[in-house]
Amino acid sequence: MMGLAKHGDLNLTARELKRLEKERLKQEKYFTASQWRLMWRKLLRHRLAVISFVLIALLYTGALFAGFIAPYGLEDYSGTYSNAPPSKIHFFHEGEFVGPFVYPYEIAYNEFWEKVFVENTAQPYPIKLFVKGSPYKLFGVFKSDVHLFGVDNANLPPGKDEVRVMLFGADQLGRDLFSRILIGSQVSLTVPLLGTFISFVLAVVIGGVSGYFGGLIDTVIQRIIEMISSFPTLPLWMALSAAIPPGITVTRVYILITIIMSLISWPGLARTVRSRFLSLREEDFVLAARIAGVSNFKIIIKHLVPGFMSYLIVDLTLGIPGMILGETSMSFLGLGMRPPATSWGVLLQECQSVHNIANHPWKLIPVLFVGTAVLAFNFLGDGLRDAADPYK
């Protein structure tokens, strides 16, 4: 544990005394720290979990400020840039340093009559910060048209197509993939969070009732849970998503998808909750509470739930990757989010044909985001699991 203070050294200087006092205080703090504080401390020692946490924070920040960070809007398309590769960012124009800039792409054809993009190096178009572009609403409230970065098109000859900077290239319709990934993350990263919240509530209520009351209720609920978990997830997801009626608003599709995602993950959580309840309800403090006349509901919420909250958080975190993959898979199959709404899965729809990937490999970039998010939540969950039992 903490280093023990050296004994037997009588000639302690004032500085050493101070240091010892500090250490004693630190130890005291450790022994009197709350369980949550201890968990937090242990989590911080898990390096992968910390890195993952930072990555997750970055991804969510990107989603939150997507409209601002993305240089273009969701539907800004350009015929010239259809299937354009990622823009090359240059710094030197004719041997002279001019800061970051791009050259406009021009379409040419190679000897096989395939479309290729060639840079027209006549005129540099500088990349500037805080450029005015297509309007968006920050947090859905504040209207703005200032983007973090973009191309300064002041020198554009009239009648020419606007020059664009596309960090990750463009899709079939010439829409900027970078912008679309950021805006799509608003769906891909929030569905699992909301879904997790819904399954949390369902799991605590249903698992709690099942474990606390036992008997017939328990048997019935256990059968239902067994039934739901017998379904292979993906076919069930597909069937439920296909039941979403066509022509309803994007918001409602979003809500329904979230509910479908959560419907499938709560049974496992409810099982965890139930088994914890079974072991906790025999404890003396529950008996004491019952004798004191505390209501069943209050016993569950106030006395039992805190007892296994940490385990539940671990399971919830580890449930998120499944939901990210689920939403991505559904959208990829065309059963999830529908255009005009975008999620990572929708973006990957263009990757359904080998030829498309072979010719435009940058369209696989959303995979990196899906993989990063899934891995990060997995590592964070692992770290939390180690931290959940801080006295170990």
């Binding site: 076919p235 899906v370 891995l375």
Partner: protein
């Protein structure tokens, strides 16, 4: 209570689960707004026929669609038991015939994948646990994590892309043209089997490796292992004769989940790679609101998972008598 009693009890529970599943399946396939007659009427109107409100009501009563939900369910359930699974509107074929067409391939792929998963995962897990914190262990753990993180369909696309780059033509489908008739065509079939099997088994294998490795590591620290070592029992005997017995439990109990995972994987992989299994048919059925067909496929896949769970329960009871005892105490 003997083994037979335990097995009968398990069988009873599985039957109850199956009935519940059939009810849920019927509920799900009734969820989409509108029914088969609405689609039919829309088609008739498109073809220029005049359909009155009365005709619609007549049609609905003809197909029994005006009856209450529970009555319809029992009609459907009776059909399931007697071998009449309804008609697929899209393929204009009996649902059972359509399912049988692909069931063989689906089961074959699932079985090959299952065997492949175990063959790959168990030795790797044992190696990884015996050489904890070695370079090999780190590589395995890392691949295990990545394998869990990458969705099936992306792995399928990536491998397809790689094979396209290597061979110059995409390896799609499963059976070579003209079917398997001779040795070269069989080899071609095996070649096409590689990608789907790798893709589908990846996440299951990664999960299994993690579970078995963790369990084996747990066992290694237990006093009986120390005792064995002190007695001079060889490391090999400790692992395979003693520790592995404990590890059998997670291997066997994961069977149901593994089958479920294989269905997840094979559904979407088959859609991407255009394999002749139930995946693409399920997607088509869902897109065209071919409810009886999608219901049938859902029912089949869930039933197979239930059967997998049943097998693993029985195997566990045979392998590990303590489990049955625990149940009796409860």
């Amino acid at each position: 209570m003997d083994n037979l009693g335990y097995i009968i009890k398990r069988l009873g529970l599985a039957a109850v689960t199956l009935i519940l599943i059939s009810f849920a399946v019927f509920f799900i396939i009734q969820l989409p707004p509108g029914d088969f007659v609405d689609t039919m009427v829309a088609n008739m109107i498109r073809q220029g026929e005049v359909v009155t409100q009365e005709d619609i009501i007549n049609l609905k009563s003809m197909y029994g669609l005006d009856r209450p939900f529970v009555v319809q369910y029992f009609g459907w359930f009776k059909g399931i038991l007697t071998g009449n699974w309804g008609t697929s509107y899209y393929y204009n074929q009996s649902v059972l015939v359509k399912i049988k067409e692909t069931l063989g391939t689906t089961l074959m792929i699932s079985f090959v994948t299952l065997v492949f998963t175990y063959i790959i995962a168990v030795p790797i897990a044992i190696y990884s646990a015996k050489h904890q914190y070695s370079i090999g262990d780190y590589i395995v753990t890392f691949i295990g994590f990545v394998g869990l993180a990458v969705p099936h369909f992306l792995l399928a696309i990536l491998l397809m892309y790689v094979s396209f780059r290597l061979t110059g033509k995409p390896l799609m489908g499963l059976f070579p043209e003209g079917g398997i008739t001779d040795w070269p065509s069989f080899l071609e079939f095996l070649k096409r089997l590689i990608i789907p099997v790798i893709v589908i088994s990846t996440s299951g294998a990664c999960g299994l490796i993690r579970r078995v490795r963790a369990q084996l590591l747990d066992e290694q620290g237990k006093p009986y292992v120390l005792c064995l070592r002190a007695k001079g029992v060889t490391e090999r005997a400790i692992t395979f004769k003693y520790a592995m017995r404990q590890v059998l439990n997670p291997i066997v109990s994961g069977l149901g989940g593994m089958i479920s995972g294989i269905f997840n994987g094979s559904t979407i992989t088959a859609i991407v790679l255009m394999l002749p299994t139930q995946g693409p048919i399920l997607l088509k059925a869902l897109q065209t609101q071919d409810v009886y067909l999608s219901g049938g496929i859902l029912l089949i896949s869930a039933s197979l998972v239930v059967i997998g769970n049943l097998i693993s329960d029985i195997l566990l009871a045979v392998l590990d008598p303590r489990i049955k005892l625990l149940e009796e105490i409860k």
